[in-house]
């Protein structure tokens, strides 16, 4: 740690009241975060728990509309956890609990009258491992519009449009009735992106979407993200630093710190800025260490 190691103590509103001490830089920097113009999702003091374990602590973060934001940081620092809390996918995990506020277009997505189903319709998600349904390519795309009752005058057109936007149409147009499982990993992932686009969300969350793909498939997905940025807000978790540098407008760097009391590691936002700034002149030593591969 380069600077003084004065400890700040954080307490939570939970009944457990664990007190965790962190070095102070985090608190000071949080206040100094650059504001994101035109934010579509805003997190304020977000804590995410798995039962009593606090996986993410005190995250203040805004995501710009029609921007690509990358979340980077070492394994286990809570990137996936935070990402899932943005569209209430954590609801599906037993014992997961989100504190603080997450707003989408100004509306608290955890408000008790808000329907998680509706939230996920507006904020879609692409997963680490391609997870097409065991159905035909066509039915994979048509699934979303059908379940949400999207009034598509012509489903064929909708399927073609989604596949075209996902840069997959030329490869699959002659085998729409075949199983999606016959596609390559990269094609399956683009199919999952197409499936997400088909329900016309505003935001697409991507959790390491290229981690199981080869470099060529990866670069196709990156190109695709760049094109989708015209119409969609994209938030991507990535392990690949170059990928963040290539595609993201802004980058948030997270790390995991051990609490002095319990020894449990919890994820913290260290630094958030324009990607160029993060990669060229990070303000925090830890960011610099991580970016330059000197992370311990």
């Amino acid at each position: 740690m380069p600077t003084k190691t004065r400890a700040a103590s954080y307490t939570t509103g939970s009944d457990q009241k664990p007190t965790i001490h962190f070095p102070a830089e985090h608190a000071e920097r949080s206040a100094a975060l650059p504001t994101v113009p035109n934010a579509i999702i805003e997190c304020k003091d977000v804590n995410v728990y798995y039962n009593a374990f606090r996986a993410v602590t005190g995250v203040d973060l805004s995501f710009g509309s029609k921007e690509i934001t990358a979340l980077i940081g070492p394994s286990g620092c809570g990137k996936s956890t935070l990402l899932r809390s943005l569209n209430r996918m954590n609801d599906l995990i037993d014992g997961a609990r989100v504190e603080g506020s997450v707003t989408f277009q100004g509306e608290d997505i955890y408000h008790k009258e808000v329907d998680a189903i509706e939230v996920r319709r507006r904020i879609g998600m692409v997963f680490q491992k391609p997870n097409p349904f065991p159905k035909s390519i066509y039915d994979n795309i048509a699934y979303g519009p059908r379940v949400i009752g999207l009034k598509a005058s012509n489903m064929d057109d909708l399927v073609e449009e989604a596949l075209t936007r996902a840069a997959l149409w030329p490869e699959v147009k002659d085998k729409l009735k075949q199983s999606a499982f016959g596609l390559s990993g990269g094609q399956q992932q683009r199919l999952c992106i197409a499936r997400t686009i088909a329900v016309k969300p505003d935001v697409i969350l991507m959790d390491e979407p290229c981690s199981s793909l080869d470099p060529i498939a990866t670069s196709r997905i990156e190109d695709l993200m760049y094109e989708l940025r015209e119409d969609y807000t994209i938030i991507i978790v990535t392990h690949n630093m170059q990928q963040a540098a290539r595609v993201a407008d802004r980058t948030a760097f997270f790390t995991a710190l051990a609490s002095e009391e319990t020894g449990d590691r919890t994820g913290l936002l260290v630094e958030y800025d324009l990607t160029k700034k993060i990669f060229e002149s990070p303000a925090d030593q830890r960011t610099e260490d991580y970016i330059s591969g000197r992370f311990g």
Binding site: N87, M89, L92, D94, I117, E118, R120, R121, G124, M125, F127, K129, N131, P132, F133, P134, K135, Y143, G144, R146, V147, I148, S179, F181, C192, R195, T196, V199
Partner: protein, 317 residues
Amino acid sequence: MSTLTPVGGSALLPGRPAVSLRSNRPRHGETFVRFLLRVAAILTIVITGGILIALLVPSIEFFRTVSVFDFLFGDRWAPRFADASFGVLPLVTATAWTSGIALLVAIPLGLGAAVFLSEYAKPGLRKVLKPVLEILAGIPTVVFGLFALQFVQATVFRGLFDLDTGAFSVLAAGLVMGVMIVPTIASISEDAMSAVPLSMRQGSAALGANRMQTTVRVVFPAALSGIIAAIVLGVSRAVGETMIVAIAAGGQARIVTGPLEQGQTMTGFIANAALGDSRVGSLEYDTLFAVGLLLFLVTLLFNFISIRFVRRFREIY
């Protein structure tokens, strides 16, 4: 550079002795286990074949006396009368009624329970409920039979509802048999549904599908072959169930035209007649095996249909 030395050297590296890839240690344990497994597999086939032959030989004898047509389509079953008649339809109708009623109960309840356990119940609750379900599957069927006869038929149907029915009915037997089959269908289809990867459900949820839609449109089709297997097993158990129908469905072989009538099923007949004093080799004795063979073929038919069905509609994950 490398400090790793291949054990025993390698033929590809100069200056090293060539080494054979053939195993030089005999693996007796493995050979023995393989032998045991093969014996087990062969034994299964031999025993099944033996049962089939034991059914076939007396049946062929039976069909020398009675034509297949008269057997299958005759509507009077009176094998022990002076003017004997071997039309199996009365037995078949009784079996159809009891099995049909049982499956009407067992399939919806069983699948409902499976969906609840696999998709809705919290893990803690599931851990408690699943063993309870399996205990239910272990209750001896004679207990179910008594329950059908004394409680459902006598107390509820005749006492409480004052229904126009005798001491026995295919409805009472069928309903209770349905309850008996619920755990079988629930347990096996729950296994099939739980085996569908979580990522499928997440993918569906992320598109804005609710839990019911995810269950019906993603989990169900993906688990279809297991679910069909569960239903077929349920059908086989219903068609082959003996004790409940022998006790509660009735003992007179007459064409059954309504649920409140009594009726003797195929299994009911076999159970009854086998306890009698039919001489080995007599026509009465052979009759038992002809009915048994029919039962076997019906079950086999359901299995074939289900395999075709699964091939056609299953979704592989």
